[in-house]
């Protein structure tokens, strides 16, 4: 079934899914913190647009509220908080050195293929759009993890963590038309609290090891060798 036979709505979801996974790739390649935060905010914005689109197509009014919450938290509050913190911590001029950028990109492409492989069993159940969207959202989750593995900066780790959450939201919205409202509110609350706690931790880490490089958090070992 070609792309042209899909409805406009499905084409739009497919397009946004592609853009979302593209922003994840851009994040992996971005060395500076401000553009990284901007990318994260744009991912949140795309998420909100998708939610509104699904709300319109399936006629679920409660999803409009969810879209607004997403827009507010993911595209505005969290990026704004992160921006403020890195200015306060005076790390906004830092440029992170990327380790093995080529390999990371290759690994990222492999992960996208892998996530398509994972969703194969669901093939019979769903439409092209929602199947692709599930694969893409799982890819975003995996790419978020890769971002956390490949980098050493605490702020980048938090952005990776939050983009994992974005991937999950994308799955919930496109594949199932959103979770029940009580769950969405709960998850949004958890994400917001987590973001604030991360901020607290930035300052704690900074005062304990005098940098935000998490590789220097290496005092605890699985086996005590002293």
């Amino acid at each position: 079934m070609g792309i042209a036979q899909q409805t406009i709505y499905e084409q739009a979801v497919l397009f946004i899914a592609a853009v979302v996974v593209f922003t994840s790739f851009l994040m992996l390649a971005q060395k500076r913190l401000f553009p990284l935060i901007a990318l994260f905010a744009s991912q949140g914005f795309l998420l909100a647009v998708t939610t509104a689109l699904v709300a319109y197509d399936r006629d679920y009014p409660h999803l409009y509220a969810s879209a607004l919450i997403t827009l507010f938290i993911k595209a505005m509050v969290i990026p704004w908080l992160l921006r403020r913190w890195i200015i306060q911590l005076d790390v906004h001029r830092e440029v992170e050195s990327l380790l093995y950028p080529t390999y990371v990109m290759m690994a990222a492409s492999a992960l996208v293929l892998f996530s398509y492989y994972i969703v194969l069993p669901i093939e019979r159940l769903s439409t092209l759009a929602s199947r692709n969207a599930l694969a893409v959202s799982f890819a975003v989750v995996l790419l978020g993890m890769l971002l956390m593995i490949a980098r050493r900066q605490a702020v980048t780790h938090v952005i990776g963590f939050m983009s994992i959450e974005n991937g999950l939201f994308f799955a919930a919205v496109t594949a199932t038309g959103g979770m029940p409202m009580v769950v969405e509110l709960g998850v949004a609350f958890d994400v917001l609290v987590a973001a604030v706690l991360f901020g607290v931790f930035f300052f704690h880490i900074r005062s304990s090891i005098d940098s935000l490089d998490v590789d220097e958090l290496n005092r605890l070992h699985e086996v005590d060798t002293r």
Binding site: A175, M179, P180, V187, A194, L197, R219
Partner: protein, 486 residues
Amino acid sequence: MIALLLWVPLMGMMTLALLGKRAKAGRINAYANAAMLLVSLLLAWQVWREGPVEGGGEQLRVDAFNVYLIVLTAFVGFTTSLFSAPYMENERHHGRVTEGSLRLYHAMYQGFMLAMFLVLTANNMGLLWVAMEGATLATVLLVGLYRTPESIEAAWKYFILCGVGIAQALFGTVLLYFAAEQLPDAGEHALTWSWLYQHADVLNPDVLTLAFVFLLVGYGTKIGLVPMHNWLPDAHSEGPTPMSAILSGLLLNDALYAVVRCKMLVDGAVHTPVAGYLMMGFGLLSFLVAVLFLHRQRDIKRLFSYSSIEHMGAMTFAFGVGGPLATFAALLHMTVHSLTKSAIFITVGHAAQIAKTQQIEHIRGLIRTQPAIGWGLLIGTLAIAGFPPFGVFTSEFLLLSATMRSYPWLTPPLLLGIGIAFAGLFRHLHSMVYGHAPEGQTPVKANLWPVFAHLALVLWLGVAIPGALSDWFNQATQLIAGSIPL
């Protein structure tokens, strides 16, 4: 009654956030926990008489399986709060915590209890996830309470690993919802556990298998299953000791509870034991890896946190084996492990205060300095290692016989593991409790009756399980495994 169970810790959290700086905060915390224990007992009485109870428009549900965990959670939370009041006061005298962080500590203790009760009572799988994440958020600042570089590192690791881990569980939950939405009359019930359980046989088996992998990895991170266990020894060893006691005694249990709930759904949909195999694999691996690590520890709290991983592995394995006998063993093991382990952490906390270090090689002659603590540690370790009159022996014996019946070739690794764990615990224990006390080691002010209450209960459960309790376990086993043992 269910709603009241959640209101008490919520009110407690708010009160302590306001009044937590007062010297009485520890006592208020204990009162709030006593109230929770009372409510949980009333709730248990209600479930006992009327069967499953629902609340909050079917968002909350209590049946035979979770009611005993609720009572256990409330009980361990209460006794730990009794221990925590003088302990934290001691820590403040030594200048390890400030008044501000004590307020945070007490408020978050209540917050953690709230999250735990929400995990246990939630009937909505999404709500369950939210509560589980809430438990991480409530405890993460407490792990870093002492603000040492080690504790900050432990807290960061805990936050990141559990956060990423539990995100997998959310993906699993989304997949579960996706599978349920395919049914025509799902509507708003699509995440309600009791509804899903009734309709499990028509859910798509492929999607549910995939969902279970994510749910197991996600909640398994919180259980401390190998290889996602890295955060656990760090968080237990660097946080304040009452936190270690309730993390080990309650959080791990409740995460396992979530996995078992998911397994019940998957077993209904998939007519092969794939979920059981996965749990057996992860469980056995965790069990064996943890017993080997026991031998290489030098920090007393890390030693006992590896022992927690070992026991959680054994329980996961037991639930994986399935069948009435193994399920009964697992339920009993959950109870005796959390009672024993929280008792041990309480004595360990005092032992570390006496020796002023957590390094095993500097903790010496506890029985001479303060006999109650020395004997408490000795008896607790005997109990957790699975010595006969104690309850851990009973449950491990039941587990071994169930394994012998279903998978005889898996009994040797289990037996070997129990032996290695025994050696690992005792090679460290002997010199800590016996031997000469170093110069100038003085007793500390301690409230030790929770320890002996827990150990007496474990002994009682080992000698004879009271009829009412075994009836509960039987009902829960009936629910999980479909029939009762014997």
